[in-house]
């Protein structure tokens, strides 16, 4: 029973990592850049929801606040692209990496100014109550996290595979110039992707905040999500989720069965192992650049 308990709580944590990793992968697929601020997006999404719904702030009903926060984050993502990232168009990936790291610092600073640095809890209907399955006690929040995550991943996957816009987004990343010639509005497509990543981050933030307290440094969780994205293979949406689940499940088991000191290392050790033995992730195929 204990194993099952660890597994479920690991899966729920893993889903949050997976959702952040999903954000990385979305942006990577469409713009070939990596958004190192995705974890801070998640933190901001959580705080925006908290600001809208908690009694001491605006006290809106949760089911109004949540969609509102998701839309706000989507708009924020689009605006960030519009005002900042669009100006980097065509510059190296390294520039984008550094820029988004800086952005993360700024977001953390701003969130700290507005909401303070004390951990706060979101008044979420998801956070109430437990469900009993046999001998296993599951938090409602954990179940909600798992369900929402799978639904979101599935719909994003369908979006990229089936819809014209989704395919256009992939094309836009692989060859900007060719995509232009084919009549794809590359810049607008990239803005939309950033919006989508913002919305995904907001969902992750709401779920994460429903499971426990948040503070402005919660975004550092993003680093674990990186591990997840790499393990799953950058560029694959289901891979990102799977990577997140793997990292999430490893953590509680390592904490339970390994000596203290070794348990924190486990996810990163796995990350390095994957980078060495299967560099492009567990779920991805490698090809060679044409010249």
């Amino acid at each position: 029973m204990e194993v099952l308990q660890l597994l479920v709580s690991g899966l729920a944590n893993g889903c949050v990592y997976g959702l952040i990793a999903l954000g990385f992968v979305l942006i990577y697929k469409a713009t070939e850049a990596v958004n190192f601020a995705q974890g801070d997006f998640m933190m901001l999404g959580a705080f925006v929801t908290l600001g809208l719904t908690n009694a001491e702030y605006m006290d809106l009903p949760f089911w109004i606040a949540a969609p509102l926060a998701i839309s706000i984050m989507a708009v924020l993502g689009y605006l960030l692209d519009f005002f900042i990232l669009r100006h980097l168009f065509g510059q190296s990936q390294t520039a984008v990496v550094i820029l988004t790291i800086a952005l993360g610092f700024v977001l953390r600073f701003v969130a700290g100014l507005i909401w303070g640095h004390e951990p706060q809890t979101l008044e979420s209907p998801l956070a109430l109550g437990d469900v009993q399955f046999g001998g296993v006690v599951l938090g409602m929040a954990d179940v909600a996290v798992i369900v929402v995550t799978f639904l979101l991943t599935w719909s994003l996957y369908q979006f990229f595979q089936r819809t014209k816009l989704g395919l256009a987004m992939q094309a836009a990343s692989q060859n900007q110039m060719a995509a232009y010639f084919m009549g794809i509005p590359v810049r607008r497509v990239q803005g939309l992707i950033w919006g989508l990543a913002g919305a995904t981050a907001a969902v992750a933030g709401i779920l994460f905040a429903s499971k426990g307290a948040i503070d402005p440094n919660a975004g550092l969780l993003g680093i674990k999500a990186f591990a997840a994205a790499v393990i799953g293979g950058f560029g694959s949406l289901p891979g990102a989720l799977a990577g997140g689940l793997i990292v999430g499940v490893i953590e509680p088991f390592a904490a339970r069965y390994l000596a203290a000191g070794y348990s924190q290392i486990a996810p990163y050790a796995l990350l390095l192992a994957v980078l060495i033995f299967r560099p492009h992730g567990l779920f991805s195929q490698v090809r060679v650049k044409k010249v």
Binding site: I98, F105, V110, G112, H117, I223, F226
Partner: protein
């Protein structure tokens, strides 16, 4: 405007292209040596801090600016350099041997760690190095018998043939030590840039396929760059240990790694000047901010994350408006004055380029 009339190839090869430049830098070095007689000991300490950051910046610049590989984990190599130096001295090696050796060991360790990561492209290396920076903290704790774990270590007093150097009681002597290391590292950097290996670094940065076709072994070149970068960073780490006076597993955190990367971007990627300019910003920003804050809202009010937040904003502004960093701005101002009044605005226009995928590699 100065006109260079070149008569021999040597003019493009030697350290300084002309007499004027040689004089300017000669004067700068003289000034650096005279500095302790011009300012008080507190500021000598501050300048020492700038120089140590500049050495670390040179280390990372070699990798990121010259070879085009971003590392978000260089604090780990600062740590390796610092601990190796301290442990070697505790084992009885004299400073004059232990210190260079600490850098070399850091370099070798860096190259070995880098080999698997370097087969991958840009972003993967960045992520692998982030993981490394996080792991460093835990590994230092795990290796407690050597590293002292959470309680940390104190470096012993430096002694070079009986000549003692200590950061707190003799800041001027420590300053001279750091200055000498800075000059040596800068010379190494400059020498690399004018030799085949430096060109191979640039070739790897700009086009891996054609570098290969010209006979450059990509993985070996990248590993060499990583190793050399780590060597210089290791020396900076050892000096940082002396400067701080005590260090433990949290001294060389991931924030330091990221600060280092941001520093060289603000300073100006791909130039020696950039490392120094960036170091000045990093070293003086906290003081500047606290003076500004005290003036605006009164002292005693703590704003957590202020430094990193402001640093982030400065960086974003630089990437957007001056991707060449402070050094790039400096060059433009200089050219503007040299050409006065003939400088035109579009002289410095950036070329538009399109991103093509590197993913299918």
């Amino acid at each position: 405007m100065r006109i260079h009339f070149k008569t021999t190839y040597e003019q493009d090869i030697r350290l300084f292209p002309d007499l004027w430049t040689a004089c300017v830098y000669g004067a700068l070095i003289l000034l650096a040596f005279a500095l302790p007689y011009l300012i008080n000991e507190f500021y000598v300490g501050e300048v020492t801090n700038v120089l140590i950051w500049a050495i670390a910046g040179l280390g990372l610049m070699l990798l990121t600016g010259q070879t085009g590989q971003a590392s978000l984990g260089h604090a780990a190599f600062l740590a390796i350099g610092c601990y190796t130096n301290t442990i070697l001295i505790e084992q009885g090696l004299p400073f004059i041997i232990a210190f260079p050796l600490a850098g070399v060991i850091t370099g070798v360790v860096g190259a070995i760690i880098a080999i698997p990561a370097l087969r991958l492209h840009g972003i993967y290396l960045a992520i692998a190095t982030i993981a490394l920076s996080i792991l460093a903290d835990d590994i230092i704790v795990l290796l407690e018998p050597w590293t002292g774990g959470v309680s940390g270590k104190f470096p012993e007093m430096i002694s070079i043939f009986g000549f003692e150097i200590e950061r707190w009681t003799m800041p001027t002597r420590f300053y001279y030590l750091v200055l000498v290391v800075t000059i040596i590292c800068t010379l190494f950097y400059r020498n690399l840039l004018r030799s085949p290996l430096g060109r191979a670094f640039a070739a790897v940065r700009d086009s891996e396929v054609s570098a290969t076709a010209m006979g450059v072994h990509i993985a070996r070149t990248k590993a060499t760059a990583f190793g050399l970068s780590c060597m210089i960073t290791g020396w900076a780490g050892a000096l940082m240990g002396y400067y701080a006076g005590t260090f433990n597993n949290e001294t060389f955190s991931i924030v330091i790694s990221i600060t280092l990367l941001m520093m060289i971007v603000i300073g100006g990627l791909g130039s020696i000047h950039g490392a120094f300019f960036g170091a000045v910003v990093v070293a003086f920003l906290p003081q500047g901010l606290s003076i500004l804050k005290d003036g605006l809202i009164g002292g005693g009010v703590a704003i957590p994350g202020l430094e990193t937040g402001v640093f982030g904003m400065i960086l974003i502004l630089f990437i957007l408006f001056e991707p060449m960093g402070i050094y790039g701005r400096w060059l433009k101002i200089r050219i503007w004055f040299e050409l006065f009044p003939f400088a035109r605005k579009d002289m410095f226009r950036r070329q538009k380029s399109y991103l093509k995928t590197e993913r299918l590699r």
